[in-house]
């Protein structure tokens, strides 16, 4: 077993869809948290295979989309410094700041590099002792252990020319925000499988109980997503709100302890501003004071950031599942992946980009 083809098997896909159709008796609204799942749903057309009374809405689990405009502008300012090699995952380079993006900084002659792993950025710092290497440490709980490990590794190697521009976000506070909103429509959640691989799913039990919504840990292949939807529908139809695991080959209740320990060693909880949504208390991680020398925000005092967002972009409502991309007046008009007005159209995991790419229309 290679754990891919088996979970893309068309016979299983149609079998699980049939079971969902047999199980559902009334309309339900389910949110998939993770942008990777949104992408899979659109790519495989799962939304079009499901019975009409199941509506999928798309959550804020796209770190590229929710990294605040202030932080993008700060990244652009830091990347423009002559002594800096600015490193980032590829998705971030096209995200529009108030003026330009990281690609435009690179086009102006500055050293902006895409890395596959943060350890590649540590290696660049080792190889370039006269330069200051900054890594744009964005991401959810899935990515935090890697970013935390880079700081410990830089410390162990005695590297003074490596630091992180940290903009980490956490899923549970965002779910609380969505469920606590008076305009909430979400009745059940597919929790993000790889976030739960790291963190486990014990954090979701009190959320499910408080808001009386079932939450199902869900993977990313078509069969995984449909299994997650089936378990959620079963819970909803039985008026139950348990937390279930539909990704048990990878996720367990407590998560990955060594990874959690590294996060705890390096990061501390903080408030975080989400692009399009605003501040969510306790929804981020920042470096602990002991690691101040690895904090790019302390090493570069970027002043006077006055971010300006496109007035046409409604990504905040999209990210909370309140509006579908196709109902945005700018969708596929003023806004497209070639000319994105907001981050949900930039990242391939953004709901707007997924709708555009896979041809969903009104």
């Amino acid at each position: 077993m290679k754990y891919l083809a088996e979970f893309r098997n068309s016979k299983l896909v149609s079998g699980v869809i049939d079971e969902i159709t047999r199980t559902v008796s009334q309309p339900w609204v389910i949110m998939e948290i993770c942008g990777g799942q949104t992408h899979s749903i659109m790519k495989y057309g799962l939304d079009q295979l499901l019975p009409d009374n199941i509506e999928l809405v798309h959550g804020p689990g796209c770190p590229v989309c929710v990294t605040s405009l202030e932080m993008i502008d700060r990244a652009l300012a830091i990347a423009s410094q002559p002594e800096v090699i600015f490193t980032s995952y590829g998705d971030m380079l096209r995200v529009p700041g108030s003026q330009g993006d990281l690609f435009s900084v690179r086009a102006s002659g500055k050293d902006v590099r895409v890395v596959y792993s943060v350890l590649d950025a540590v290696k660049i710092a080792q190889d370039n002792p006269s330069k200051l290497v900054v890594f744009f440490a964005i991401g959810f709980e899935t990515t935090a252990p890697a970013n935390a490990m880079s700081v410990l590794q830089a410390q162990k190697l005695g590297l003074d020319n490596f630091c992180l521009l940290v903009s980490h976000v956490r899923v549970p506070p965002a779910m609380n925000l969505i469920l606590g909103s008076p305009s909430n429509r979400v009745q059940g959640f597919l929790a993000a499988g790889h976030v739960c691989t790291v963190m486990g799913y014990w954090e979701y039990v009190p959320i499910a109980q408080k808001y009386k919504v079932p939450i199902v840990v869900t993977g990313f292949e078509p069969v995984d997503i449909l299994q997650g939807i089936l378990l959620t529908i079963r819970e909803l139809e039985h008026k139950s709100n348990d937390v279930k695991n539909a990704y048990s080959r990878v996720v367990n209740y407590r998560g990955n302890k060594p990874a959690q320990n590294i996060i705890e060693q390096v990061f501390i909880e903080c408030d975080q501003k989400w692009r399009g949504i605003g501040n969510i208390p306790g929804s981020g991680w920042r470096l602990k004071p002991a690691f101040v020398k690895y904090n790019a925000e302390d090493r570069f005092h970027v002043e006077e950031i006055k971010p300006t967002e496109s007035p046409l972009c409604i990504s905040g409502q999209i990210l909370q599942g309140l509006v579908k991309p196709i109902n945005c007046p700018a969708f596929a008009n003023q806004c497209s992946p070639e000319h994105p007005l907001g981050a949900t159209m930039v990242s391939s995991e953004g709901a707007c980009a997924a709708y555009y790419r896979y041809g969903r229309s009104k």
């Binding site: 699980v16 990515t143 162990k156 691989t197 990313f220 990874a259």
Partner: protein, 79 residues
């Protein structure tokens, strides 16, 4: 962004005190960090995100899931 892909561990070693390994992603072999899966053995399947193994893949759980879903699918055919 939270994309993670399965691969098979073909080699385990240490670099600068970090547990590292070579992973075979269906023919493409890449180096990844195994520090979060200290129990990993050569031949295990693991799930990789941004160059780090996040967990080992439990074959027994995977088989159980597939068997269960297969039964559900067949059940519909019988009806």
């Amino acid at each position: 962004m939270c994309l993670a892909v399965p691969g098979k561990i073909v080699e385990i070693y240490e670099i600068n005190g970090l547990l590292m390994g070579k992973i075979d992603f269906g023919g493409v072999v890449r180096e990844v960090c195994l520090t979060f899966v200290p129990e990993a053995k050569v031949g295990d399947y693991t799930i990789i995100h941004v160059g780090f193994a996040l967990n080992l893949i439990d074959e027994k759980e995977a088989m159980e899931t597939l068997t269960l879903l297969d039964e559900i699918s067949n059940q519909g055919e019988i009806e």
